[in-house]
């Protein structure tokens, strides 16, 4: 593995290896000394063209826990705001000797371009590109689902080595604008889980019939008939909807009535079912405060697992043999 650009590129073995490595990384994070010397002397650049708190902090923490040097680069206040192109930014990073670049960009495919255009020889990790993919988020969701539904339900060692075969996951909300949903559909399918997307027709993307999942327009019906083991609520991305809630649904209240997770719908879930949300939450819109703060919600744990998953991704991308010159035995 040289780059991590899309969960659709991952084979099942690679995905399970990533999750297993994350489990070992998580084990080191409960120690008194959390820092490992593994990536000492390597440089990770966080290249963020779009606002982000948790993903950037999570990647920064992960890289630092592995002793890598971290350079944060955000488009605001950099030469990008003076009109520098992605190519020139990449050439600058190359000249500075970056070993891995974590990139978030508003344009779908920007990480792919960065990885394959020949501007850089560093590994590229996609930290979210437009409405395309967000692989580490999907991996941490899968890790959290596996830990709770495979590991804690009788499986040994928090589900290490296992896939998600037989589990049912409902992904609810703004699928149209969601890179998290796209990344999750591909990964969960690879790991053997069954996925149903639930969204109003206006928020279902064109071409969804080619995705390896089912689509429903009715949350109540899906909860009753599909009986999901995990419910993943998506954020309504109002910043991507022109003019506030512009045209995708009549009113926030109506959206909440039909597609929000509240105490009533929470009570209808199976006893073991868990609730996920990639954050940041719009409390009162797609998820009510009762649902967000209930015992079923593993939303805070998702953030903690994010560090372990990103450590695993950085380790697997950066630790092994590389083609850098002067590195022969």
């Amino acid at each position: 593995m040289k780059h991590l650009l899309s969960t659709a590129d991952l084979s099942k073995d690679e995905a399970v290896l990533l999750l297993d490595t994350a489990a070992q990384m998580a084990a080191t994070q409960s120690r008194e000394i959390k820092k490992l010397p593994t990536l000492r002397g390597r440089t990770v650049v966080n290249l963020f063209f779009e606002d982000s708190t948790r993903t950037r902090i999570s990647f920064e923490t992960a890289a630092k826990r592995l002793s890598a040097d971290v350079i944060n680069f955000s488009a605001k206040g950099s030469s990008v705001s003076k009109g520098e192109s992605l190519k020139d930014t990449a050439l600058t990073l190359h000249a500075m000797g970056a070993d891995a670049v974590v990139v978030r960009h508003w344009a779908s495919g920007a990480p792919y371009q960065l990885a394959h255009a020949g501007w850089l020889d560093a590994g590229v990790l996609n930290a979210g590109d437009g409405t395309h993919q967000h692989p580490t988020q999907a991996l941490l969701d899968a890790y959290t689902i596996r830990r709770h539904l495979v590991g804690l339900r009788g499986g040994a060692g928090e589900g290490v080595g296992a896939d998600l075969a037989g589990l049912k996951v409902a992904i609810v909300g703004d699928v149209l604008h969601s890179r998290v949903a796209r990344a999750n559909v591909a990964l969960l399918h690879t790991l053997g889980a069954e996925v149903t997307l639930v969204a109003p027709p206006t928020l279902v993307p064109v071409g969804v019939e080619t995705w390896p999942c089912a689509v429903s327009y009715h949350l109540d019906q899906t909860l009753a008939e599909f009986q999901p083991d995990a419910v993943m609520m998506l954020r309504v991305q109002r910043e991507r909807m022109s003019g506030g809630a512009g045209g995708f649904f009549p009113s926030p209240l109506e959206y909440t009535r039909y597609y929000g997770l509240d105490a009533r719908r929470l009570a209808r879930l199976a006893d073991h079912a868990i609730v996920l949300h990639p954050g940041p939450m719009n409390r009162g819109l797609e998820i009510s405060a009762e649902a967000a703060d209930s015992d079923r919600a593993v939303i805070v744990e998702q953030v903690a697992n994010g560090v372990a998953v990103r450590m695993a991704a950085l380790y697997l991308l950066m630790a092994g043999e590389d083609s850098a010159e002067g590195n022969d035995l």
């Binding site: 593995m1 080191t28 490992l36 380790y315 630790a319 092994g320 043999e321």
Partner: protein, 195 residues
């Protein structure tokens, strides 16, 4: 590590030799630590873990107060290695310490073959992040020489002079599914076993 279950090469230690060597090492550990009260055995994956469990059983036989389950663990050193960039990415293994931890106790690191000493250096670094043992000792079934670092074992099953072109393998029934043995392959001229 896919081990070929039917290796070619010279068998230098058989199952009974391995067993006797482990029994002697167990006695030496007890003698050196003046008992087995504060001894913790940490195996280095893969075969070191099996050897640590076997040593723990023998220690319990010598000192009935010694609880094998509460004093045995495994220590994965992958993330502390200095050769990560020279090899394909290694899968990270499990580190499992005894419940009571290693603080203030005598840790005996157990490995199968001692060669360059780099694995042990990584293990010492890993231990430093986990706590401060009162003392750290090193037990290995085979010492084949060619050290690259100033590290020496405290308890050795067998000193085996080798050349760097040879390959020394320890086969254990739990891991490899064949009878216990220490095998040397790649010898240029077959002049018997080791001294």
């Amino acid at each position: 590590m896919p081990a070929d279950p039917t290796p070619d090469g010279t068998t230098v230690l058989g199952a009974s030799d391995v067993s006797r060597a482990l029994t002697r090492i167990a006695h030496e550990i007890v003698e050196r630590a003046k008992g087995a009260d504060d001894v913790v055995l940490l195996g280095i994956p893969t075969r070191g873990v099996t050897l640590a469990h076997r040593l723990a059983e023998r220690l319990a036989g010598i000192e009935p107060a010694f609880d094998p389950a509460a004093s045995t663990g495994e220590l994965d050193v992958t993330m502390y290695r200095d050769d990560l960039r020279r090899q394909p990415t290694r899968a990270v293994g499990v580190t499992r310490l005894p419940q009571a931890g290693i603080e203030g106790r005598t840790v005996v690191l157990v490995d199968d073959v001692l060669y360059s000493g780099r694995t042990i250096r990584a293990a010492l670094d890993a231990l430093g992040d986990l706590g401060r043992p009162r003392a750290v000792r090193l037990a290995c079934l085979v010492d084949r020489g060619h050290r690259e670092l100033p590290i020496r074992p405290d308890f050795v099953g067998k000193n085996l002079p080798t050349s760097t072109s040879e390959r020394v393998r320890v086969l254990l029934s739990e891991v490899d599914g064949v009878e216990d043995a220490v095998v040397i392959s790649g010898r240029e001229h077959g002049e018997g076993g080791a001294r």
